[in-house]
């Protein structure tokens, strides 16, 4: 029984069957990658997990509880954090404030009317945020505007913000898309370190095979809205069906 159990999930947009019949089990404290060619339904599946979309059929259970029909912020409070393809951070706020917000959300919940507290008096939260910034090696940038960070730093900040909530499941949507090689390798190292040091499950959607094969413990291949195979990276590499449906295709495209 994995921490995330997806059973018979289907989603249709008008005439298009985006997800056919997806079954997926993500084991606790593992790194699980979902790969597939464009239009395979990866993003649709991810959106069904975080509450942005509601699947037409099937169930999604997280830690024994259904996530279906819950709003994104409720699902996040259950322990699922999401990292976006393009970093979603609070651009107009300082780096420290960016980190404070998830810390407040973790402690005070979805809404807390604290209109008369001075933010900077809250030592507990400030310490936590600063500690997280140090861990992300961004402590020296705490007073910068988040929008002025480099792409790689924005990604680090976003991952740090998610981690500061101590989620049980971290979902990453093509975390290295559009990144230079050096930034990509840094991100891989960061994610490796996170999965080694923490009790955390990581589910990652990725295009870049280099990223997938250096991180994942298990890989699910999605094609045309249905899972093709699920196996360890080594077996996936040699799997004829996968080569045909996916790897072959990317080689052609490249």
């Amino acid at each position: 029984m994995g921490i995330l159990e997806v059973k018979n999930v289907g989603k249709r947009f008008g005439g298009l069957q985006a997800l056919g019949d997806v079954n997926l089990s993500v084991a606790e404290n593992s790194v699980h990658a979902i790969i597939g060619p464009n239009g395979a339904g990866k993003s649709t599946l991810l959106n069904c997990l975080v509450g942005k979309l509601i699947p037409d059929t099937g169930s999604v259970m997280f830690d024994g509880q259904s996530v279906l029909g819950r709003k994104p912020f409720k699902i996040n409070q259950m322990g699922i954090s999401r990292v976006f393809q393009t970093p979603e951070i609070f651009g107009e706020l300082s780096v420290l404030e960016n980190m404070l917000i998830p810390c407040f959300a973790k402690r005070d919940g979805a809404f807390h009317l604290s209109a008369f507290k001075n933010m900077l008096d809250d030592k507990e939260i400030i310490d936590r945020a600063q500690h997280m910034l140090e861990e992300m090696k961004m402590a020296d940038k705490h007073s910068m505007n988040a929008a002025s960070l480099s792409r790689g730093d924005k990604r680090r900040l976003e991952i740090g913000m998610c981690l500061s909530q101590e989620p049980r499941l971290l979902l990453l949507d093509e975390p290295t898309a559009g990144m230079a090689r050096a930034d990509t390798n840094n991100t891989i190292d960061l994610l490796k370190q996170i999965s080694d040091e923490r009790d955390i499950t990581i589910a990652i959607i990725e295009h870049d095979m280099h990223v997938v094969f250096s991180l994942a413990e298990r890989i699910t291949v999605l094609a045309q809205g249905t899972p093709l195979v699920e196996d360890t990276p080594d077996n996936i590499k040699g799997h004829p069906k996968v080569r045909e449906a996916y790897l072959g295709e990317t080689q052609d495209a490249a």
Binding site: V50, K71, P72, F73, K74, N76, Q77, S81, R82, F84, E88, I89, F90, G91, E92, L93, E97, L100, I101, P102, F104, A105, K106, D108, G109, A110, F111, H112, L113, S114, A115, F116, K117, N118, M119, L120, D122, I125, K141, M144, S148, L149, S150, R151, G152, D153, M161, Q165, A180, D183
Partner: protein, 406 residues
């Protein structure tokens, strides 16, 4: 001091000093001089408007400045507050305290209801929804609920809601013996009482109503500083910055925006109640959507999202409205009399459209210029000027903090 940091304390002290000393500051010219007629602004009526509109825009800024939700219907709450206060004067007592409390409560209830519906949508939809609600409130107040012959005449329509001798006024007892309408007061102090100080050629007026409103504005200002510096204020700025990230960080944006909407609605209610406290007459035109537009204009002129901007904007708008509407062709001729006659007439002929009754045009143009060139308002303009002077002194210090781009 007062649990504010150093800079905020300084700001608050400066504003406090300006509010308390306004009767001096606004009357720089001796009484009776031509400059005084034009530029002095130390009359109770005008000073009251400075601080009351200050409260209104401070509240509006908590919504628009922090969350970015542009309400085009805030005047509705101002009008609702005015009506509530006049009803309190009619029914209960001429003391302004119950009236102000009721104004804030009623405006709060209305803003809760209107905000709940309007905040289901964001962006332009939100602006249009608030506009529709405000215009509906205006129509209700102007005609539907203001028909003097009907049994539910809450607003007295076109004439406006005003005091009458036969109002019950439960706490105050019988009407004044001389048959005159009673005046609004804070316990023993009548709002319209003034103390005049003659110094040389100068006349300074210290009006009770102004100081009551001024102190309430200072309290409002203090509250707004605290909100800006609180975790709640940060969450509101986060709403403006990225709602998606809010949602995926386990935060429910709706109660945050609704709380901001209600708080700013209550500020508007307080301002409306104060307007009625200074002059117990409430009319529907206060709720018209052009009045809402004027609130937006004041906020933008001053500087949205800054602490001091709303006060600057409200003061600037009221002051220049006052001056511009006083200037007429005669004054212009007098000022430009040093020019050759033809040129003088030509310039006066052009300026004619921008002063006197044409002040709307001038403020409209100014408003456009500010949005186009100075989106941060006058406060940003001041900061830019300050920076220019600073950078002349220390030219090489810049660029040390910048990080390399990706």
């Amino acid at each position: 001091m007062l649990k504010l940091n150093k800079r905020d304390t300084l700001l608050f002290v400066i504003v406090t000093a300006m509010v308390l000393l306004a009767p001096f500051l606004l009357n720089p010219f001796p009484q009776g001089s031509s400059m005084a007629q034009m530029f002095n602004a130390g009359y109770p009526d005008l000073m009251q408007r400075f601080v009351i509109f200050g409260i209104l825009v401070i509240g509006f800024n908590i919504l628009f400045g922090l969350t970015g939700y542009l309400s085009f219907g805030h005047a509705a709450f101002l009008g609702i507050g005015s009506y509530a206060a006049v009803w309190m004067f009619k029914l209960l007592s001429m003391n302004i305290i119950p009236a102000l409390i009721l104004s804030m409560i009623i405006a709060g209830i209305f803003s809760l209801a209107i905000g709940y519906v309007s905040l289901r949508r964001s962006g332009i939809y939100f602006s249009i929804l608030t506009l529709a609600f405000a215009q509906m409130s205006y129509n209700l107040a102007y005609s539907v609920l203001g028909n003097p012959s009907s049994s539910y005449n809450l607003t007295n329509g076109e004439t406006g809601l005003q005091l009458a001798l036969d109002d019950p006024r439960i706490l105050d007892g019988a009407a004044a013996a001389n048959g005159a309408l009673p005046v609004t007061k804070l316990f023993g102090l009548a709002m319209r009482d003034s103390y005049n100080l003659n110094v040389g050629g100068w006349l300074f007026t210290f009006n009770v109503g102004y100081y009551v409103a001024g102190i309430l504005m200072l309290i409002s200002f203090y509250v707004s500083i605290r909100i800006f510096r609180s975790p709640f204020g940060m969450m509101l700025r986060a709403v403006k910055s990225n709602q998606q990230r809010m949602n995926y960080t386990g935060l429910n944006t709706k109660p945050y925006t609704l709380a901001a909407f209600v708080i700013s609605g209550m500020y508007a209610g307080l301002a409306g109640g104060l307007l009625s406290s200074m002059d117990p007459l409430a009319g529907a035109e206060r709720m018209h959507w052009t009045a809402s537009g004027e609130i937006v204009i004041m906020a933008i002129l001053g500087g949205v999202g800054t602490l001091i901007g709303p006060i600057v904007g409200a003061g600037f708008n009221e002051y220049f409205k006052n001056i511009l509407s006083k200037i007429n062709d005669g004054v212009l001729h007098q000022w430009l009399s040093f020019l050759p006659d033809g040129l003088e007439n030509f310039i006066v002929g052009i300026l004619h459209y921008f002063v006197g009754k044409g002040w709307h045009l001038t403020l409209g143009l100014l408003f456009m210029l500010v949005i186009i060139f100075l989106p941060g308002g006058l406060v940003e303009g001041g900061q830019r000027l300050a920076k220019m002077f600073k950078s002349k002194k220390t030219d090489d210090e810049s660029d040390s903090n910048n990080t390399p781009a990706e």
